[in-house]
C-alpha cells in the first residue's frame, strides 16, 4: 500500500509586534505547533507571502490554514487570502478575549496574567479548529490522493 502524505493544517499568526494581542498570537501558535498538535500543524511567517518565493505564496494552497490575528485589522487573514488562498478558519484574539471575559491583555514584551490566559484560550480554540479540519477530511481526502486506476 502506498505511503500517503500526511495532511496538515497551516497556522499563520499575525505576530503583531506593536500590541500585546500580537504576542498572544505568536505564543498561541507556538503552543499549538510545538506542544498541542506538533504532528498536525506547520507554519509560515506571514511576511513570507510577500518577501518569499512562489513556494511560500502557495503555502495556503497546499495546507488548509487557520489564521490567528491580534486585532480586527485581521492582517493574517487578509494577507493569507490576498497572497496565498482563503484561510479555512480564523481566530481574532481581541474578540476571543471579550468572548471569554478575560481582563485587559497587556505587556507586548512580557504578557500579564490575562495575556497568558488569552494564550491558552487561543491555543485551545486553534486546536479545536485544527481537529475539526482534519477529522472529517481524513478518510475522504486521503482516498482522493490514491493513484487512480487510469482512464
Amino acid at each position: 500500500m502506498p505511503e500517503l502524505p500526511k495532511r496538515k493544517v497551516g497556522i499563520v499568526a499575525c505576530s503583531g509586534e506593536e500590541i500585546a494581542e500580537g504576542t498572544v498570537t505568536r505564543l498561541a501558535a507556538l503552543r499549538v505547533l510545538h506542544e498541542l498538535r506538533p504532528e498536525d500543524t506547520v507554519t509560515i511567517c506571514l511576511p513570507l507571502f510577500l518577501a518569499g518565493g512562489e513556494g511560500d505564496r502557495a503555502f495556503a494552497r497546499f495546507y488548509p490554514t487557520v489564521t490567528i490575528d491580534g486585532c480586527d485589522k485581521r492582517c493574517a487573514a487578509h494577507g493569507t487570502a490576498t497572497y496565498s488562498a482563503e484561510p479555512a478558519a480564523s481566530v481574532v484574539v481581541s474578540e476571543l478575549v471579550a468572548e471569554c471575559g478575560l481582563g485587559a491583555v497587556e505587556g507586548r514584551r512580557r504578557l500579564n496574567e490575562a495575556g497568558r490566559q488569552a494564550v491558552e484560550a487561543t491555543a485551545a480554540r486553534v486546536v479545536s479548529l485544527v481537529d475539526g479540519l482534519l477529522k472529517p477530511a481524513r478518510g475522504r481526502r486521503f482516498a482522493a490522493t490514491l493513484p487512480s486506476a487510469g482512464p
Binding site: S15, G16, E18, L27, C45, K73, C75
Partner: protein, 141 residues
C-alpha cells in the same frame, strides 16, 4: 515634493516564529523602543505592512527605518523597501551573533540568557543608529 523625514526612527523587527533569531530580533526592537530610546523611536508591525495599512506605510515612508531580520530571507528589509521606506538600515541578527559567538540564542517563546544578552547588544547597535539619525537631523536644522 518630497515628504519631510522626521527625526523619529521606525524600528521593524522580523515576525519569525520558527527560530530563536526571530525572537532575538523582536527582543532587541522592544529593548530599543521601550527602554533605550523610547522618545525617539516607534515600532511598526510587519503584518501591517503586509496588509498595506495606510498609517503603517506613511510611518515607514516618512521616517528613517531600521529593520532587524532573523534570517537571510530578510522579510523586514524587503517589506520596508516595498512599503516606500527611503532611509533604511538593514540589520541581521546573524551578523551580531558572528561578532559575539558566545551568545548563542536558544528557545523561541522564551529566550535563554545568552539570547537575551545578544538582543541587548543588538539593541545598542540600533540605538547608536537612532542617535546618528537624530544627530544628523539636529545638524541639518
Amino acid at each position: 515634493m518630497t515628504k519631510p523625514v522626521s527625526s523619529e526612527t521606525v524600528v521593524i523587527p522580523c515576525s519569525g516564529i520558527g527560530k530563536p533569531f526571530g525572537s532575538v530580533s523582536r527582543e532587541a526592537a522592544y529593548e530599543v523602543v521601550d527602554a533605550l530610546r523610547p522618545a525617539g523611536t516607534r515600532l511598526v508591525a510587519l503584518s501591517r505592512l503586509v496588509l498595506g495599512d495606510d498609517e503603517a506605510r506613511e510611518a515607514v515612508a516618512g521616517h528613517p527605518v531600521v529593520t532587524i531580520d532573523g534570517c537571510k530571507l530578510a522579510c523586514a528589509a524587503k517589506m520596508a523597501k516595498a512599503s516606500g521606506a527611503r532611509t533604511v538600515r538593514e540589520l541581521a541578527v546573524i551578523d551580531t551573533f558572528r561578532r559575539h559567538p558566545k551568545l548563542k540564542p536558544e528557545g523561541i517563546a522564551e529566550l535563554n540568557e545568552a539570547g537575551q544578552q545578544l538582543a541587548r547588544v543588538l539593541a545598542e547597535e540600533v540605538a547608536a543608529i537612532v542617535d546618528e539619525h537624530a544627530g544628523r537631523k539636529g545638524t541639518d536644522a
